[in-house]
């Protein structure tokens, strides 16, 4: 398949990448842009580890053609920290031990980020529902839920 030039806006920066037309966003992010924070834990759409934001909404990068998100605002885990400081949500995951092995964490945080942008003060059921597409094998979700709650409570 011939390669084509894609222009992707990732974490506020424009990137021009030569990629196959059927290239998946997760592969472009990881292999072409070196943004390996976005993980792949299943064969497509079952684990949530590759969750990124596209125009502020959560998207599974493993089911998304890179070409289909040209011109859209793509955000990955690497874009959340500002000038080397973790975001309030990342900080909450740190303080509440919302990560253990760390592998589901980027996707989990991006899913939680999307939730908090649309629902700044979710209750526990809303948090659990919003994160139900993101598998975690380490935490039993308890401290992940606590982390998201703590981040929400710290918001105005």
């Amino acid at each position: 398949m011939p390669k084509r030039l894609l222009t992707l806006a990732v974490n506020g920066r424009r990137h021009e990448i030569a990629a196959d037309g059927h290239a998946l966003l997760v592969d472009v992010l990881r292999d072409a842009l070196g943004l390996t924070g976005t993980k792949q834990g299943c064969d497509g759409g079952e684990c949530g580890a590759c969750t990124v934001l596209v125009d502020g909404a959560p998207r599974l990068a493993c089911l998304t053609l890179a070409a289909s998100v040209e011109g859209r605002a793509i955000e990955t885990i690497e874009g959340l920290a500002r000038s080397g400081r973790m975001s309030a949500l990342q900080q909450a995951f740190h303080e509440r031990l919302g990560t253990q092995c760390g592998f589901c964490t980027p996707g989990m945080i991006m899913a939680a980020e999307a939730l908090l942008r649309r629902t700044p003060h979710p209750d526990e059921a809303e948090i659990r529902e919003a994160l139900a597409g993101n598998l975690c094998r380490c935490t039993g979700y308890v401290k992940i839920i606590e982390s998201v709650r703590a981040a929400a409570e710290a918001r105005p």
């Binding site: 973790m86 139900a132 597409g133 039993g140 308890v142 401290k143």
Partner: protein, 770 residues
């Protein structure tokens, strides 16, 4: 100076390793940029057993981007050896346990669906996968057996006909005659016959391995997520037929292990061999479907247990017969799990004077079965805790009361159990009482009435467990003090999410009286540090104790060096808070200044610790379930636990470990089942669509309490293992609750996972709750 049992406690909950995980800078094997790497795709058997008569690789070799295509015959011709497994087991005939030889690619017969048959190496992973489709294997299908009960039945298909039996290993414990006598004279005998369901461990990070070969030095480097770097290195070397020193295993961050990422998988050795054969680094990454097919699985035991009781409800004797499905090949420690590890706690927390065990490790045509969180102890505790509930119901004795009558009293410690293991400390009755209070056990009737009012059934269950942790009881630590202000701890255990960087840094920092931020922890590089890795919940109490001893040794080494530097006798040198000084004077030198004056600007402390006493965590978990009779859906409504894991260095980390174990245990009880078709041997649960892992909306919050009154006696930290306890306790707590909820329908037992359909059938066929 704080007391020695409080080492590492000063720190807060937040972890050192978090920032890289939270910002997307974790260093997992799949994240490594490997210049020049080629990619491997594996051709796996679609048959449960088949002769691989002829393999035509011509079309695959000719495909675009292909570098090489190899079969098992190629490996054998090149001198590759079978993967090793631990010796020491015998079959029913008393001869050494046998396993079919497992090569990285099978050269003759595929023995389970997913057994690696050939490999394609290509410029890209995609090209390798495409070419793998072109490998034409002429399979000659053979009869197969996948179910352990069928494998032991009359006229069973033999997984490996040459062996003449499916029983690979047999182990018996206890005096059968005396146990039989106890049963014959017992006032009551309770029995249970259950299947402990096969599970797929499923860490979210799939297995990945990258092999490299250096022609000049003749050395191999394999980068992979393994919990046991040294053992994996040794097994790779054995398979390659080279000395262990010619293989270096390097481990980065591990995205969860849970016992599956231990010892050796075929791909670990395969990538090393391919790297040499192709003259390129070679990377292999498992798809999730390959993880289901090719990772080692867990559990899968058929257990028949009987408990003899006297008239007063005292336990007299326990008889356990189990058959453990080992899969098609004995995994490295496959038979250890059911025959050595689990059986240690078969009698649980109870004083049962007589015990008889017969265990069979059985070959079938399924993926090899090895360690999964708990590795034998969850199966043992599930059996005894279900059995005690069965006995309580049959005798009309409250299940709490029956347990209370039989728990090993604190006054009996140290206590030698019926299996022959010695529990050093424990106050089981106090743990039970605390757990019942935390669970509001006595408030259950009101909650059940409230559930009834909404048309729902409610049940409660408890499980008391004792767990064995330890495994290899020796570990070494090196503590390097550097002139630039860093302390580096080298440990042969392995971080995989359990917070060891934080816990170890805290231990070393407190030993040295310095800021934990100065301490770096190095693990998982066999050129830098050897050890037994992280299995059997051993890391903190064995590896952490070694770190403590290493820190103390660094002080002693520093004392001698400081004596030279300060021109004083070593006995006059005192150490505190990062400074050596001559007692009674103000002449002193800082720890790091001292290091800066040494050759290489550093000095070392080192220590090897060896313990004889394993740790015996114990606890009581209480679960309440609610059942919707319209759908049969079982929901865990309340879950609370009190665990005695000895002294907790970092309570938040401990809680996280227990939470995760409980979630996996609830998964086993209600959701997870690995199924093979009984006739064809096809894997029916090969994706997360078919194999249900617990999700955030499947679980409640868990209420945890700690019990720290009985610290472990066998190690200076006073800690007991914690990583597996939740997975040990949760399955019986949940199933006991479900059976309690359904008792009015005459239900005595349900096998795991308890499915909504099964519950619905029971309720629909019985009396509707009103």
């Amino acid at each position: 100076m704080t007391e020695p049992t409080r080492y590492g406690r000063a720190q807060g909950g937040a972890r050192k390793e978090d920032e890289r995980f939270l910002t997307g800078r974790g260093r997992y094997a799949d994240d490594l940029a490997v210049p020049g790497a080629a990619h491997a795709a594996i051709v796996r058997s679609p048959h449960a057993r088949a002769r691989t008569a002829a393999i035509d690789v011509a079309a695959a070799r000719a495909a675009p981007g292909v570098i090489g295509v190899f079969t098992g015959a190629d490996l054998v011709a090149a001198g590759v050896k079978p993967l090793p497994f631990v010796p020491g087991f015998v079959g029913e005939d008393g001869r050494p346990a046998r396993s079919p030889a497992r090569y990285p690619l099978t050269p003759d017969v595929a023995r389970f669906v997913g057994d690696p048959v050939a490999v394609v190496v290509a410029e890209t992973a995609e090209a390798a996968r495409d070419a793998a489709e072109l490998v034409a294997v002429d399979y000659e299908p053979l009869d197969a057996v996948v179910d352990v009960r069928r494998a032991l039945g009359p006229a069973a298909v033999l997984a490996e006909p040459d062996f003449g039996t499916n029983v690979a290993a047999f182990h018996a414990i206890g005096d059968a005659v005396r146990v039989d006598e106890a049963f014959a004279s017992a006032a009551h005998v309770a029995r249970i016959d259950l299947v402990n369901n096969r599970l797929v461990p499923n860490p979210i990070e799939p297995r990945v391995c990258v092999g490299e070969y250096d022609t000049a030095s003749g050395r191999y480097v394999v980068r992979l997520p393994t919990q046991t770097a040294q053992s994996t290195r040794n097994s790779i070397a054995a398979s390659l037929g080279v000395a262990p020193e010619r293989v270096r295993v390097i481990v980065g961050d591990i995205g969860g292990g849970f016992g599956m990422k231990t010892f050796i998988h075929p791909e670990d050795a395969l990538v090393a061999w391919l790297a040499k054969a192709c003259g390129r680094p070679v990377k292999w990454r498992a798809d999730r479907s390959e993880s289901f097919l090719g990772d080692t699985h867990g559990r899968d035991q058929w257990v028949q247990a009987e408990l003899a009781l006297d008239r007063a409800g005292r336990f007299l004797a326990l008889r356990v017969r189990l058959a453990a499905n080992m899969g098609a090949y004995l995994a490295f420690i496959g038979p250890v799990v059911p025959l050595r590890a689990g059986v240690r706690v078969s009698t649980g927390g109870y004083d049962i004077p007589l015990f008889r065990f017969e265990g069979r490790a059985v070959l079938t045509n399924t993926a090899p079965v090895c360690a999964y969180r708990g590795a034998g102890r969850p199966e043992a505790i599930y059996a005894i805790e279900r059995l005690v509930d069965v006995a309580a119901r049959e005798l009309g004795i409250d299940p709490v009361e029956l347990r209370r009558r039989n728990l090993v009293p604190r006054s009996a410690m140290p206590y030698r159990n019926g299996v022959g293991e010695t529990y050093d400390v424990g106050d089981f009755a106090a743990v039970l009482d605390r757990a019942l209070a935390a669970a509001d056990w006595s408030g259950f009737d009101a909650r059940r009435a409230a559930s009834r009012a909404t048309g729902r059934l409610r049940g409660r269950g408890l499980a008391f467990y004792v767990e064995w942790t330890g495994g290899e009881m020796t570990e070494r630590a090196v503590v390097e003090v550097h002139g630039d202000g860093r302390v580096v701890l080298l440990s042969g255990t392995q971080n995989m999410g359990q917070g060891l960087e934080t816990s170890y840094a805290g231990i070393v920092a407190e030993a040295l009286g310095i800021d934990p931020a100065r301490v770096e922890v190095v693990q998982g590089d066999t050129d830098r540090v050897l050890g037994s890795g992280s299995v059997a919940s051993r890391s903190l109490f064995v590896g952490g104790s070694a770190a403590l001893a290493g820190g103390k040794d660094a002080i002693e080494k520093g004392r001698a060096l400081a004596a030279d530097a300060l021109e004083a006798a070593p006995r006059d040198i005192e150490y505190a808070a990062g400074r050596f000084c001559i007692a009674g004077t103000d002449r002193a030198i800082g720890l790091f200044d001292l290091a800066a004056r040494q050759p290489e600007r550093r000095f070392l402390g080192e220590a090897t610790v060896t313990f004889t006493m394993p740790s015996w965590p114990n606890g009581c978990h209480v679960c309440e379930v609610e059942i919707d009779p319209e759908t049969g859906e079982v929901r865990v409504d309340r879950y609370s636990a009190v665990d005695d894991v000895g002294r907790r260095l970092n309570p938040a980390i401990v809680a996280g470990q227990v939470h995760g174990g409980i979630a996996q245990g609830i998964g086993q009880a209600l959701l997870e089942a690995c199924r093979y078709d009984a006739d064809s041997g096809q894997l029916l649960t090969g994706t997360f669509q078919d194999y249900a892992l617990p999700r955030a909306d499947d679980l409640p919050a868990f209420a945890l309490g700690a019990f720290e009154d009985e610290p472990a006696s066998g190690n200076p930290l006073g800690t007991k293992g914690v990583g597996e306890v939740g997975a040990v306790a949760a399955p019986p707590a949940v199933v006991n609750a479900v059976v309690d909820a359904l008792a009015e329908f005459g239900v005595k037992h349900l096998d795991m996972p308890v499915r909504a359909e099964d519950v619905w059938r029971i309720v629909a066929g019985g009396r509707a709750p009103r």
